[in-house]
């Protein structure tokens, strides 16, 4: 089932990617092409097959809830586009 321009707009909003009308026009046939191609999976009989989430048999380990590395606030903030008073700074959210 092909996706509509409205759906693509909605997906772009969910993905937080601003998209111009020209970009959207270009993307729409590409997405439909790719989705049409992956839809061939419908032919495969998967009744009773468990979805595979991990390729190796592995129990997820729990670790102790302790700080192993820390006190590097300024090193971490050095990469921030904007930092103030030891925090990440973002545009005003509440007026």
């Amino acid at each position: 089932m092909p996706v509509s321009p409205e759906q693509v707009r909605h997906i772009a909003k969910l993905a937080r990617i601003r998209m111009s009308d020209e970009e959207l026009d270009r993307l729409l046939p590409e997405l439909n092409n790719i989705l049409g191609w992956v839809e061939q999976l419908e032919e495969v009989d998967t009744d009773g097959v468990e979805p595979l989430t991990a390729v190796i048999d592995l129990k997820l380990r729990l670790r102790d809830d302790v700080v192993t590395e820390g006190n590097i606030r300024d090193e971490v903030l050095a990469n921030a586009p904007e930092a103030q008073h030891g925090f990440f700074a973002v545009p005003k959210v509440i007026e």
């Binding site: 969910l14 937080r16 990617i17 997405l31 191609w37 992956v38 999976l41 670790r63 050095a78 990440f88």
Partner: protein
């Protein structure tokens, strides 16, 4: 000094140990070669000081006896690996200027083994691509050219900078990562070796995440032996990666043997696909003969879900990518573009300008297949087919010990020649099934096509049987006698 850059890692290591040359000479030879090859666009950052200081430490240690396994060896590091204090951008504009305050486990392991770093290697943006054309730094240009032609060729991707660097002798070896062929396809295009180990062998910690259930690091180098040497240093249990395998690292180099007597080599009939050049099928047949000559018995096997591997991959990988790449929001690192409408506007403006076209395409696909109403039809369905693909391999390995196929359906193509996304995805048709099943797989050069471009043979092994893959690779290497080298034009 040109003779030093043409040596394998094993030769450099042994020559350094025997006192034939100093580590400093090795580092300076490669530093000079790197600086003289900028036309290839293989490196995004050059770190000659790093290579030099590791070399000096190696030279100093040589006097005192105890030497680290990679003492004296400088390496190229794919830009996907976080390197302490050195720009790490995953080939993306959105990570511009990011200098990690930490080192990835794999690159840290190489450092602990004594290796120095020549620089960071160019790659497709977030490892999404098969030609290195999606990098924000522009494409890497392969050192190889078609006979009598000046057309720029791609080195493959996404580890294209790594493949180019090894083939052009501006690194003796390099790290790569492989999500759906990103080590093996460029290795084949560049006429070098590259191995993706079993999922979980190499820690993913500190590697910029693309599709976490598939991503694996591995080495790319001139020879099978060099791959074994590097993989031993890269692999190992890491508590910081929840999917890291808690197993000892085998002595892959010491156990190398091209004697395949008693081994059965599976030849999957579904990998004979239409549209693949005859030369590739012919090389595959030669590969079968080489393995027979090494003592192995070929057996025809069936992997019935092969044709569904690529569509499965192009649901699962974008889905995981859309989730992993949600972190690039302009708040904590990298690019920030301030939009007109507050915080939300900043997110979407930053992501719109920070990501390239292919990355956006995959985030959109991934977001769609995970969205309400479509999740089961696409994502759960793909996970079920993935289970069947894994089951195919399990059954096949009851009849054989290792599987032989071609690595890629073509030789290297020209930059700008493949513009359709789907056509680009088909590059990984032979590589993706092993990724979906988490199996170790390797590309070894087998020969050249009639244009003089390298072609690779692909070996897939049982879970944890990197040794079987390396040994079959060695048997091919010994018989293929691949000595073709790109003629220096850069």
């Amino acid at each position: 000094m040109t003779e030093l850059i043409s040596k394998t890692i094993a030769e450099l290591r042994d020559g350094f140990r025997s006192g034939e040359f100093r580590a400093r000479e090795i580092a300076e030879s490669f530093n000079a070669a790197v600086a003289a090859a900028r036309t290839l666009n293989a490196y995004t950052v050059e770190t000659p000081e790093d290579a030099r200081s590791a070399a000096d430490a190696a030279d100093k240690a040589r006097g005192s006896g105890e030497l680290l396994p990679l003492a004296g060896i400088p390496l190229g590091i794919k830009d996907l690996f976080a390197t302490h204090g050195v720009d790490t951008t995953a080939g993306s504009r959105i990570l511009k200027g990011f200098r990690p305050p930490y080192e990835s486990t794999v690159s840290g392991n190489l450092r602990k083994a004594g290796a120095g770093m020549l620089g960071k290697l160019n790659m497709d943006e977030f490892a999404m691509g098969s030609s290195n054309e999606t990098s924000t730094y522009g494409p890497v240009i392969s050192p190889w050219r078609r006979k009598g032609s000046n057309v720029g060729l791609t080195p493959g991707g996404s580890s294209g900078g790594s493949a180019c660097a090894v083939a052009a002798q501006i690194a003796p070896g390099a790290t790569g990562t492989d999500t759906g062929g990103s080590i093996r396809q460029p290795a084949a295009f560049a006429g070098i070796c590259g191995i993706k180990p079993t999922y979980g062998r190499c820690s993913r910690w500190g590697i910029v995440a693309f599709a976490s259930s598939l991503d694996q690091a591995g080495p790319m180098a001139k020879s099978v032996r060099d791959c074994a040497i590097l993989l031993e240093a890269m692999a190992g249990f890491d508590p910081k990666d929840s999917t890291s395998l808690d197993l000892p690292v085998p002595n892959w180099e010491a156990s190398l043997s091209g004697d395949l007597r008693g081994k059965r080599v599976g030849i999957p009939k579904e990998y004979r696909i239409e549209g693949v050049p005859l030369e590739i099928d012919a090389l595959w047949d030669r590969g079968i003969e080489w393995l027979k000559d090494a003592g192995a018995t070929p057996v025809e096997i069936s992997l019935p879900h092969t044709k569904y591997a690529l569509p499965t991959y192009y649901i699962i990988a974008p889905a995981e990518a859309s989730s992993n790449l949600a972190r690039y929001d302009g708040v904590r690192y990298g690019l920030r573009v301030t939009g007109s409408d507050g915080l939300d506007g900043m997110y979407s403006a930053t992501r719109s300008e920070g990501f390239g076209a292919e990355v956006k395409r995959r985030i959109m696909i991934g977001t769609y297949v995970l969205s309400a109403g479509f999740y089961d039809a696409y994502f759960t369905k793909a996970q079920k087919v993935r289970a069947l693909i894994k089951r195919d391999f399990r059954k096949a390995f009851e009849q054989c010990d290792v599987i032989l196929t071609p690595t890629a359906p073509s030789a290297a193509f020209g930059i700008g020649e493949t513009t359709d996304p789907l056509a680009m995805y088909l590059n990984d048709v032979f590589a993706v099934p092993a990724s979906l099943a988490g199996l170790p797989a390797m590309s070894v050069p087998g020969g050249v096509d009639d244009q003089g471009l390298p072609l690779g043979l692909h070996l897939i092994g049982k879970e944890l049987d990197e040794q079987g893959v390396l040994n079959a690779g060695l048997a091919i290497e010994e018989r293929a006698q691949f000595t073709a080298r790109p003629e220096k034009w850069w």
